[in-house]
Amino acid sequence: MQRIGDGVAVRRLLIGAAVVLAALFLLLPLVTIFAQAFARGIDVFWANVTNHYTLAAIQLTLLIAVLTIPVCLVFGVALAWLVTRFRFPGRRILQTLIDIPFAVSPVVAGLVYLLLYGRTGWLGAWLDTHDIQLMFAWPGILLVTIFVTCPFVARELIPLMQAQGSREEEAAVTLGAPGWTIFRRVTLPNIRWALLYGVILTNARAVGEFGAVSVVSGAIRGQTNTLPLHLEQLYQDYNTVGAFASASLLALIALLTLVAKAGLEWRAARREVRA
């Protein structure tokens, strides 16, 4: 029996359209990035990548990512735990609040932080008298990056932990396990793949964030320039090869992220087959 919409012509048309679209919108740009980056040979590419300012940008970007991930990890797990394991007034509101960083434009987020923590801002004035500078320095970049990325881990965990319920944890507590042991030996193993997945997404966003960072960084070359900001500056300076060399680095990180994600999904699928 033939299923509805399973005609040979329909199938070919749909698959063809998908292939064409994927090629046009995904594959072609990706190829272009690398083609442009290597347009004037490997030596020029290498010179651009090892340029002092580029290296500084890479360093700052990695630092921000490395600092963001643990914060988001702890925050996400704590929030997911709170929302799925306890009943309290305001739980639903909290669940909605988690999504705010996704809902507002990153530029707006950056502006708000600038208004709050900038030299003339409400909190900034106090910080200024204590000689603490957040804006136009790496701590400010870290702050907005955390703001933008903090929902990823929680959003991955909440549905999973809701579906799994708290029965296993209840069983563990009746067996005399202390709270931390329960988390380490029962909760964590059950959520580890979702957790890792959330971390991968957090990392991707932390590395690639442009809007919010551009508002608070001040884009001082060699000091507060992250890789995406650096890339944009190079492009504005008509250094196409330099811009695409940086772009190729970002694209590489994205590809690695995708590979890691696919690897995780493959593992998860295999676990299910075994189970």
Binding site: E168, E170, V173, T174, L175, G176, P178, T181
Partner: protein
Amino acid sequence: MSIRLHDIAKHFGRTQALEPVNLDIAEGELVGLLGPSGSGKTTLLRIIAGLETADAAADARILFGDRDVTHLHVRDRRIGFVFQHYALFRHMTVFDNVAFGLTVMPRKSRPTSGEIRSRVHRLLEMVKLEHMAHRYPAQLSGGQQQRVSLARALALRPDVLLLDEPFGALDAKVRQELRRWLRHLHDELNFTSLFVTHDQEEALELSDRVVVMSNGRIEQIDTPDQLYRHPINRFVFEFLGDVNHLEGRVRNGVLTCGDARLAVDFADGQEELLLRPHELELATSPSPEAQMPVTVTAISPVGAEVRVELEADWMGEPWLATVSHADYERLALTRGMRLYALPRRWHRFPAERSKQGKRRAATVS
């Protein structure tokens, strides 16, 4: 170890899930908490376990033996808990599941890993799963998973074993088997157990005593035999088995309902009688005491007895009678046959659901 509850009540928000409950369970007893869903039986069990906290009341007490555990955390109560859906740790092998309680003990009192291994193997032997030690829960059948969860609960040699609908998710045959096996285990190891069920057959078969609950209240606590013979009120009577209703007016010692008549010995007035299916006899002619014509509408032999469905104009709902195979053959029962029902025994609960005052039950033979 005995369990004593005093004035344990529970509210969820504004709804009262449990009216103040008092309950004494003797050491070594196996007690069933029986009731329909929403009767508060699981809530009560979880309060005893410490997974739920009872309403704060000055005199609310939970005692295990002489130990007051009212304000003790679950992990310090030394209970074994068996969940309806097993709640096995899905990422651990059967062995690790059973060993869990031993491996999380404080380092000082924890047995050596060799001791743990031999103890877990003994437990797995007891539940006949030693060959499954390295499987994961998802690779086991429901009955096997529940046995693992029992072994896990018993690993710490708890004073009290609490089971929440332990066989609810299993098919009939496995359930029978596990029931007998649990009874056996209980008699052998002699712990105090309390289990929740909504299946009256399970409660009556397994328990030393049954606690019947409805609407957050204990209706009756008795041995299965007493419970079945002397139900304290209509709820208990109806919950414990199939019931036929006969409603009519009594005048001069005769209850009349349409063209059915039954000699009774109570005062004139409206009456409702309840009859168990096995307390009905079927005959080809009426007796002086009972003239109750019925028509057979369905016959199904189930095990040792034959279930016969009866209808008549004077009935509100069809009746059910269970007769022996011998009677079935003697009467040559067929569908559409017209017979007479002769009640051997009936029950009435006159003081119906009056919350105040004593609920009285009367059983007339």
